[in-house]
């Protein structure tokens, strides 16, 4: 009987405890009211990912870029036309005749969110910290374009590191003047200065919080239009307008709430009830929203393509076989069947929207270089290719690997069916976890792979330098001397028009040789409350830009 009482008490405690714990935390949150029907300058957005550390030096995730883009700022900010506009800088940089030295004046009235003035030294510290090998910053390769950057990255002892920092080509001429000297000219460097990795950092804040720097709302500071007021991990980020921001008169929104909603259908449910003003959509959901005023497409600088590994499959050393596999795929049908609206068929390897480094758009400068879908020609090319190799038939049992989630499996199925139907060849689909697919690619251990590449900066080079002979990311093992030579020339060419032409010539070779067969340029799909105006969806870097947004 005693035991029974004991157990009954335990049950009672569990139940009472449940109620108590339940009640005690009920008041923690606030209701997620949307802005529908109200002209209050407040928006509530759904976002699919929790940002990692909000650390200028270490960030590589788009979730961090987007968060930091709201609360922080660089020397320049990209406007709706994709052009760099002076932000913390007073004006566009003065560039030396050799294209290597940038002199930049800061605005007089720019301060951090706590009122401390932004100084040129904050940029020097930021770049030194990113390049310091102890920081282990993954995007340091971009900052290493600065003269002496690579030397600093490779420095080993504390003395070597200090020496390299002093020799680094970034100097604060005074509190408001910054001078950056590059190793070689970079035509797109002004735009690059708007990218998160080139934002300033406060030495006192970084040192104060150490490992916790950027982990919570109170361990990070910015100089941008909004202040991160609250960050409940995995749940919600709340921003309020920064009244110390230099351009506060042009910032209309008073409050931005970002709810972390990983499930797209839940996000759409919240959107439909008015509890959210923005949600990204994909797959079947696109069809439900297409044509409605809420629906919008955001093109990305991201290409999806097929890789042919030339060492594991010697037949892929033959150009005609690669071309046959590429032009036997109907990329228009591919998009319709697999991804749904949004992406567009690839017209080259460099995506639409990428600058040509000479004031134009690369795709317009280079034109449509992707050979047309032509099953008859593909068959002929395959036969010719096999004959050249002395083979009677296409190698049997080849596998195409791809991701096992999202549109991955459907894409593999489609490609296999196209090759079967248009070329009469059997290739097996092999969906794999993303990390394994990438691991196989990094180790060159695959036969055919379905892969994607997103731009790190807005210039064709981010897509083209991958395929040079012996290049770090050339995992197809394609070797083409002329291509490599053109890219190497473009890397040091100071004449922007010539540089642009060198890259066009290189892409022509890539599309003629087809070591990789591009399928489509990716796009993100969203539904947005039409009352929100002035919100930008840039093609790379941040996913959305709210500085100029307002509620109508």
């Amino acid at each position: 009987m005693k035991a029974k009482k004991w157990l009954a008490a335990a049950v009672a405690l569990t139940m009472v405890g449940g109620t108590v714990v339940g009640c005690s935390s009920n008041n923690q949150g606030q209701s997620g009211g949307g802005t529908k029907g109200s002209a209050k300058q407040e928006v509530t957005l759904n976002y699919r990912a929790e940002p990692g550390a909000l650390d200028v030096s270490k960030s590589t995730q788009v979730a961090v870029f987007t968060t930091m883009g709201m609360m922080h700022e660089g020397l320049y900010r990209i406007d709706k036309d994709g052009k760099a506009q002076p932000a913390l800088a007073k004006e566009l940089p003065q560039i030396s005749a050799d294209g290597k030295t940038y002199t930049i004046k800061l605005r007089d009235n720019v301060t951090w969110a706590d009122g401390v003035p932004v100084k040129a030294q904050d940029f020097v510290y930021s770049y030194q910290r990113t390049l310091d090998p102890n920081t282990k910053a993954l995007y340091s390769f971009m900052v290493a374009w600065i003269k002496g950057g690579s030397a600093l990255m490779k420095a080993k002892t504390p003395e070597e590191i200090e020496k390299a920092k002093k020799e680094l080509g970034v100097k604060a001429l005074d509190d408001k003047t910054l001078e950056i000297t590059l190793e070689t000219p970079k035509a797109f460097f002004t735009e690059q200065l708007a990218f998160l990795t080139f934002f300033p950092q406060r030495e006192d804040i970084v040192k104060k919080y150490g490992d916790k720097y950027g982990a919570d709302a109170n361990t990070v500071i910015g100089a941008g239009p909004f202040i991160l007021e609250k960050w409940d991990h995995d749940q919600q980020l709340v921003f309020v307008k920064n009244d110390k921001y230099w351009d506060k008169d042009n910032v209309k929104l008073q409050k931005i709430t970002i709810n972390i909603v990983k499930d797209q259908n839940t996000g759409l449910n919240l959107f439909q009830t008015g509890a959210a003003d923005l949600q990204n959509i994909s797959g079947e959901n696109i069809k439900l929203w297409e044509g409605k005023p809420e629906y919008l497409v955001q093109p990305e600088l991201s290409v999806w393509y097929i890789k042919f590994q030339e060492k594991t499959v010697p037949a892929f050393k033959n150009k005609k076989i690669r071309q046959a596999l590429a032009i036997s795929i109907d990329n228009k049908a591919y998009i319709e069947t697999v991804t749904g609206k949004g992406p567009v068929p690839a017209t080259g390897f460099v995506t639409t929207g990428t600058s040509d480094g000479n004031g134009g758009e690369f795709r317009k400068t280079a034109g449509d270089l992707m050979p047309k879908f032509d099953p008859a020609k593909a068959k002929q090319l395959l036969q010719e290719g096999l004959q050249e190799l002395g083979l009677k038939e296409f190698p049997k049992g080849l596998k195409i690997q791809g991701d096992d989630h999202g549109v991955g499996p459907k894409a593999l199925e489609f490609l296999v069916a196209q090759w079967k139907q248009n070329l009469g060849i059997e290739v097996l689909a092999e969906p794999l976890p993303h990390k394994l697919r990438v691991d196989n690619e990094n180790n060159h251990k695959y036969q055919i792979s379905l892969s994607g590449w997103g731009a790190d900066y807005n210039d064709p080079m981010t897509f083209l330098d991958m395929w040079i002979k012996g290049g770090e990311f050339n995992d197809v093992d394609w070797e083409h001397d002329q291509y490599t030579e053109l890219i190497k020339k473009a890397e040091v060419e100071t004449d922007r028009a010539k540089r642009s032409q060198l890259m066009v010539q290189a892409e022509k070779i890539l599309m003629e040789e087809m070591p990789v067969a591009p399928n489509y340029f990716r796009a993100l799909n969203w539904v947005k409350n039409p009352k929100i105006k002035g919100m930008l969806f840039p093609p790379y870097g941040v996913e959305f830009e709210l500085k100029w947004a307002y509620v109508e």
Binding site: A3, K4, W6, L7, A8, A10, V11, T14, M15, G17, G18, T19, V21, G22, C23, S25, N26, N27, G29, Q30, S31, G32, E50, G52, A53, D55, T60, Q61, P133, K136, L138, F141, D211, G214, A215, T219, D232, H233, D234, I260, V261, K262, D263, N265, T266, G267, N269, L270, T273, A275, P433, H434, K435, L436, V438, D439, N442, D456, E472, F473
Partner: protein
């Protein structure tokens, strides 16, 4: 009893060590790198990162370091959220999972027992059939089906409750229902069977013949005895509910631990995988330890029998 308890304690430690070791071995065999954006890492960068996390050391050395850290309660820093310790992620996420679990369990116990009691008292009537039909549906419909249905129909179509997020008290209701449904069904069936057993006992018949009211018989004699088998399974059910919130957390955007579990495996976040596995294992093993001790207290035959073995 002291010896019995000590022995259970040692078994608990051995079990935990086995879990920790197995997790380590499985983790080491996951293909790919644990780093974000790993497709863009150069070989040099990868080497630097591997060294930072001690992944360049021989496997046995990594294992020894890992055991040492775990013994000291240090579960390391997440690979995906580099400024957050795994213990912090647990401390931030577990309260939501626990709270959701407690809500769901409270609902399951209350409604499940009520259904079971009604079904038993109204044996072979439409009440019984309705209650048992509900129970069968509860067992057959998984939470990943029920969750989206509740979110859409109650949240969007009817607009009665928020379809997701974890803010005011009203945000707790739908996920708690989705999570509680199968447990509710199990408890209802168990309670019904147990009640029917007790109702047919001689002492109940005696009570009836003595002219006691139906209400007094049920509350004083039937319920107290019938609830015992149900109580004994509450411990494991509780653990099951708080660790089984994964799908429901995802569907209703609850900032709990469940979704970290799957995401960490997906992204090879080694420290997070091992940290969460150890955390949940400790809860499970500790509840089992307490259950063993409770059994030992209730029934001395158990500890004697085990003692001889």
């Amino acid at each position: 009893m002291v010896r019995y308890t000590l022995r259970r304690f040692v078994y608990m430690l051995i079990t935990l060590w086995l879990i920790v070791t197995t997790t380590f071995i499985l983790m080491k065999n996951l293909p790919g790198d644990p780093f974000e954006n790993s497709e863009k890492l150069t070989k040099e960068q990868k080497a630097i990162l591997m060294a930072q996390y001690g992944l360049d050391k021989p496997v046995w050395e990594q294992y020894v370091n890992y055991l040492k850290d775990v013994a000291q309660g240090d579960l390391g820093v997440s690979f995906q959220y580099p400024a957050r310790k795994v213990t912090e992620v647990i401390a931030q996420g577990f309260p939501a999972s626990l709270e959701l679990g407690i809500w769901a369990l409270s609902l399951a116990i209350t409604a499940g027992l009520a259904l079971g009691i009604i079904a038993a008292l109204k044996h072979n009537t439409k009440w019984d059939y309705t209650a048992m039909f509900t129970a069968v549906v509860g067992i057959s419909v998984p939470s990943f089906v029920l969750g989206p249905l509740l979110s859409y129909f109650i949240g969007v179509k009817l607009g009665w409750l928020p379809p997701g997020l974890w803010q005011g008290p009203e945000h707790r209701i739908l996920p708690a229902i989705a999570l509680s449904f199968s447990t509710l069904a199990i408890l209802a069936r168990l309670m019904r069977t147990s009640m029917l057993d007790v109702i047919n006992q001689d002492y109940i018949k005696t009570a009836k013949s003595k002219g006691l009211s139906q209400f007094a018989i049920v509350t004083k004699h039937t319920l107290r005895n019938a609830i015992l088998p149900v109580v004994t399974i509450l411990g494991p059910i509780f653990v099951n509910v708080i660790t089984g919130t994964l799908v429901v957390e995802q569907i209703f955007s609850v900032p709990g631990l469940g979704r970290h579990f799957v995401m960490s495996v997906y992204s090879n976040d080694y420290t997070m995988i091992s940290g969460l596995t150890i955390f949940y294992s400790v809860i499970l093993v500790f509840v089992m330890f307490l259950t063993d001790i409770a059994y030992g207290l209730i029934d001395p035959r158990i500890r004697l029998a085990k003692g001889r073995g």
